[in-house]
């Protein structure tokens, strides 16, 4: 059964590599958004250090949402989605494959890039480490929850904006625990409580989100 998961995963990664520009647009969006804040708020390192966790997390939220609209759209338009709906394997497994590909394309690069951007905000070493860990733990949950929104708004006019309206409220717990963990670590309170909850939300999303996404796909693609 897991061969289906890996075929979908490999297929999507292959497709993404062919249209490499899409991969980099999300990445550069993240970099630009993160770099805008110092221009807006001012170069004092003290304030930058304070706002860094929130800025990084909000930018990660927006970046992962940017790439959501196309998650199912291309397959929907060329009929591949119909084949997936008819496939014998459970649809949520195929959805998991697509979401994993989406995370590898948009989520992981952000995580790998954040230390570099952390220097912009003069973050000390271990705060960057914690930021890295929270992003690593949290971005999969963003892709999983976002997939529900992408499936619901499949093929709608103005779907991109609509996805953000549907999905942002659901992202809030991930944002709170993600940014909160970094801040708690930095202020010495210890962010282990936040990290465990972030992980818990991630696991819950891993189990529940594909079910909701496949139900939404069946409704949208009929």
């Amino acid at each position: 059964m897991f061969s289906a998961f890996f075929t979908i995963l490999r297929r999507d990664l292959l497709l993404a590599m062919r249209r490499r520009s899409d991969v980099f647009t999300t990445l550069f969006f993240f970099v630009i958004v993160v770099s805008l804040f110092p221009l807006g708020i001012g170069p004092e390192l003290e304030t930058l250090r304070l706002i860094a966790p929130g800025v990084f997390w909000v930018a990660a939220l927006l970046a992962s949402m940017l790439a959501l609209e196309k998650l199912f759209l291309v397959d929907y338009q060329d009929g591949a989605l119909e084949q997936m709906l008819l496939a014998p394997q459970p649809l949520s497994l195929l959805v998991l494959g697509k979401v994993a590909a989406h995370w590898l394309i948009t989520g992981l690069p952000l995580v790998l890039l954040s230390p570099l951007l952390g220097l912009q905000y003069d973050l000390p070493g271990e705060t960057i480490g914690v930021l890295l860990l929270t992003l690593l733990l949290g971005t999969p949950a963003l892709s999983l929850i976002g997939a529900i929104g992408a499936a619901l708004t499949l093929g709608l006019r103005g779907g991109g904006v609509l996805v953000s309206l549907l999905v942002l409220p659901l992202y809030i717990p991930v944002l709170i625990f993600g940014a909160g963990a970094v801040e708690a670590e930095a202020s010495g309170l210890g962010g282990i409580g936040h990290l465990t909850l972030l992980g818990a939300i991630g696991l819950a999303a891993l189990v529940a989100a594909p079910l909701a996404t496949s139900a939404a796909l069946r409704v949208s693609a009929e």
Binding site: L165, L166, P173, I176, F177, G180, L197, A212, V219, S220
Partner: protein, 249 residues
């Protein structure tokens, strides 16, 4: 046994539910008006002045009922969404659609009165209190549902997509509330809280309960009126709509 189930389902057909919704609507309108009159009178003349917050606390008599209603209506919408998906009854989806604007209205009222109460009590129009913040997020959930319904031209898909969004939303509400409460206590300490401040005397509680039932009856009356509207819209080509007294030429 089977006959009882059969007639229960009778009301799931729009044609037989339409007149019933009319009567429920009229009855709950009367109840709402009566309870509102009593509730308002009690809010201003019966409930004593609060020793700490003076007359300003009277806002609680609409703020708390509206907040309760905003959450209750969302859960009822999720219930109808689940019913619709399980039993495939179109009317359940219509009920969820009918409740959405009123739920959003109640959330807006809760936010507005929360701000107008926060200003005299804490000096700022907006307080990042855990409950007010969750209320704001609940408002976004309502707006998301209404926007999704508006963006899907096909009625069947709109109903089912909205239902899935409601179920996902209702599962997330406790998580959102818990995370906001955690976030709030971490950053500000639990000092600011809307109700724990003033101890509730019996009269105040009674007034608030009456106002809550008044808001409840109001929501039912408005939802019934709107669901009748949705039924007419969807069944416009049917014979029974053409035969309706108010439509028949």
């Amino acid at each position: 046994m089977s006959s009882r189930i059969l007639n229960w389902f009778k009301f799931s057909s729009p044609a037989s539910f339409y007149p019933l919704a009319g009567t429920i609507g009229r009855v709950s309108t009367l109840i709402a008006v009566a309870l509102l009159a009593v509730g308002l009178y009690m809010s201003f003349f019966v409930a004593p002045t609060d020793y700490k917050q003076g007359e300003g606390y009277r806002i609680i008599f609409i703020h708390v009922p509206a907040a309760w209603m905003s959450m209750f209506i969302y859960v009822v919408m999720a219930f109808w969404a689940a019913m619709g998906l399980v039993f495939r009854t179109r009317l359940s989806f219509m009920m969820a659609r009918a409740l959405a604007p009123t739920g959003a209205l109640m959330t807006f009222i809760a936010l507005w009165t929360g701000a107008f109460w926060g200003k005299p009590m804490w000096g700022t129009w907006w307080v990042w209190d855990a409950r007010l913040t969750s209320e704001l997020i609940l408002f976004f959930l309502y707006v998301g549902y209404i926007a999704l319904q508006g963006a899907i031209p096909d009625v069947r898909r709109g109903d089912r997509a909205g239902a899935i969004l409601l179920l996902v939303g209702v599962v997330n509400i406790p998580i959102i509330y818990f995370s906001v409460k955690w976030w709030n206590t971490l950053h500000q300490g639990a000092s600011v809280s809307i109700r724990e401040g003033s101890s509730m005397s019996a009269i105040m509680l009674e007034t608030m309960l009456i106002m809550t039932f008044a808001f409840w009856a109001y929501a039912i009356a408005v939802a019934m009126a709107r669901v009748r509207l949705i039924i007419l819209e969807r069944e416009r080509e049917t014979r029974w709509v053409a035969e309706l007294p108010e439509v028949k030429l």
